[in-house]
Subunit: 385 residues, 2 copies
């Protein structure tokens, strides 16, 4: 198995791109990544996307995007794992390069959500859960997260105002991210005053609806020097699943898929949670971000909210988290989110994070989750010196 390096990254600003097609969004991010890598052609294209059939009346995105990039002929495929599609696209591309079957690959994610009606957007994401047992009840992902938040608060004595510090941190970090959907600060008070979505979760504690695309270029580590002075090593790339129905899980406050994928990833990369300098987690509400920090082994189960309240996830804290805004403030264009996370880690590990730079960041971890946790994808990246 060959070691794999990331040699180029690119993304577009998350937002309402009514003037651009699904193809344009992807091509813009992917060609930016190619330019960053200094290559004009790749051997393979991996596209992560959740909802183009439902929201854009379009499938077959592998071929479509290879074509849009001006390189029809190359190998191309779309992968889907709910809103972990982006992370999993990177994962599959890493495999392709690791296996020796491809040399240069681009892995990107794209989602165009703002052209559709909101009920269709809700319907599209709910297909990530089991149709017969969860989707048909009419519950939303935020509704399911609200149950988790209630249980977390009750079991661990956490207050909602502590939890939402996670979202507040996201917004603080987004201010310096030109690609963020909501680059403005918020306060706990503002979150608590915002409309209730599903008790206790407030509007300013949930991601918005946005269009986005992000991409990375991969090559074998041994060739990375041809393209860049700052290759980033893919230390680990893992995917794990869990039973799909949340109510069938042994424990609602633990993401077993994240634990499994993280265990494998730490072993694969030869690092421990203590070695991680910067982390991106899948916070599709504050409570899920807090739980992620626990399941990734950064803090004891039930103590994540204290860790957040103590400011440890801020830049300058013990574990800078979601340093470009996370799902809440950078935005959560489903199939692209996992790729944005990887792009942002690369900026940190290259030392290109500007005002949000984590000093001396050498190891970064990204956690991308599908639905309420049936899929987790973990990447551990390392600076290659």
């Amino acid at each position: 198995m060959r070691e794999v390096a990331i040699i180029g990254v690119g993304c577009i600003k998350v937002g309402e791109h009514w003037d651009k097609s699904l193809r344009q969004l992807f091509a813009e991010a992917a060609l930016t990544a190619l330019e960053d890598a200094g290559v004009d052609r790749v051997d393979g294209v991996y596209v992560g996307n959740l909802a183009s059939a439902t929201l854009n009346s379009q499938q077959h995105l592998g071929a479509l995007m290879a074509d849009a990039m001006g390189m029809p002929g190359v190998e191309a495929v779309r992968v889907e794992a709910a809103d972990a599609s982006g992370g999993v696209a990177v994962h599959e591309a890493v495999r392709a390069v690791a296996s020796g079957m491809l040399d240069l690959a681009v892995a990107g994610g794209v989602e165009k959500m703002t052209d559709a009606k909101l009920p269709d957007v809700e319907y599209a994401i709910m297909m990530s859960e089991r149709r017969e047992y969860v989707t048909h009840t009419g519950v939303t992902i935020t509704g399911l997260n609200a149950i988790t938040a209630q249980l977390y608060m009750s079991r661990f004595g956490a207050k909602y105002e502590d939890l939402v510090l996670f979202s507040v941190n996201d917004h603080k970090n987004a201010v310096n991210n030109p690609y963020a959907q909501y680059p403005f600060p918020i306060t706990v008070e503002r979150v608590l005053e915002s409309p209730m979505v599903a008790d206790p979760i407030r509007l300013l504690d949930t991601p918005g609806v946005g269009d986005g695309a992000a991409a990375v270029v991969l090559c074998p580590m041994e060739r990375a020097g041809e393209f860049t002075d700052t290759p980033i090593r893919v230390g680990a790339s893992t995917v794990a699943t869990d039973v799909v129905n949340p109510y069938e899980r042994e424990e609602l406050l633990t993401l077993s898929s994240t634990r499994t994928a993280a265990e494998r990833a730490y072993e694969m990369a030869g690092v421990t949670p203590g070695d991680v300098d910067v982390v991106e987690v899948h916070d599709n509400s504050s409570v899920m971000g807090v739980i992620a920090l626990e399941d990734l082994g950064f803090v004891e189960k039930g103590c994540g909210h204290k860790f957040v309240a103590e400011g440890e996830i801020e830049i300058g804290g013990k574990l800078p988290t979601n340093t470009f805004g996370g799902l809440k403030a950078r935005g959560h264009p489903w199939g692209a989110t996992g790729v944005y996370q990887v792009v942002e880690l690369v900026w940190q590990l290259r030392g290109e994070a500007g005002k949000n730079q984590v000093d001396g960041a050498e190891v970064g971890l990204a956690q991308n989750v599908g639905g309420t946790g049936a899929t987790s994808c973990i990447h551990i990246l390392r600076r290659a010196d």
Copy 2:
């Protein structure tokens, strides 16, 4: 890169499975493949599917199917490349095993088409073409194939009654396939008397609508002996694309994606077209089967119809083709088709093809196509003696 072997196969009969869910269809095929391989667990699950969002209100099929198989926790993902999704699922699974990152993997395809209304079925497959330029015109895949058939007949002096011998051959072979949707013989006369779908293509020259699922179990070649006495070697697994809009292609009577993928596959497997003993092609109408034989290098461009008319694609001919019924008669449950092809080749190479056995079959090739040819996936399998 490790060599990869197929050690188990399974499928269900293509048909109207109103009593079974999407999960059940997949699980039945996948667990049959596991039983065939003599394993009770795999490390990864690859699911090929085109249309579950549109026809079954369900996505996230990787986790869903791992769960349905009773092995939540394992790595799982869905791949989509229009009706090449099944072949590409096998391709990605081959990569995973070849890379050393997974040892045992199942790759399957599933499609549940008969629960939906027919216009939705047509809509779902048309999303394989570009929405803005092709889909919106209202043309169907059969309509596009009809244009190709007219051009083929005009340029090469072929008669439609010669072309449809391809479908007649499919039906003849399906008679002995217990998993075929239409296991009965047809005649040229019957095809010509059947209703016109898109001039010149008649109803009995197009695949029907059916539910289906098929699966294969893969492991590294070096471990295959632990599980079976008849491992089948994956000699090559390739994917290539073409521009998506048919009218932008240089040549309508050549599938450039098939040619590119085939070139790579022959090189990878170290064989020539002349070494191939049995072939499965993606005949979503007779003319596409004929063109596939040409683009795979078995016969000169423009001579495929003569090859068919001379009976060379029959079992006992020079190149037994679609020996279990092909898309026309085994059935074409989109996301599963490419996996059925691989399963059927394995039966041939193991010598388990019963009345349809090709004597001494050692090398088999499968060609799975997405849409009108924007994606082609080729597998070359070899008996491992």
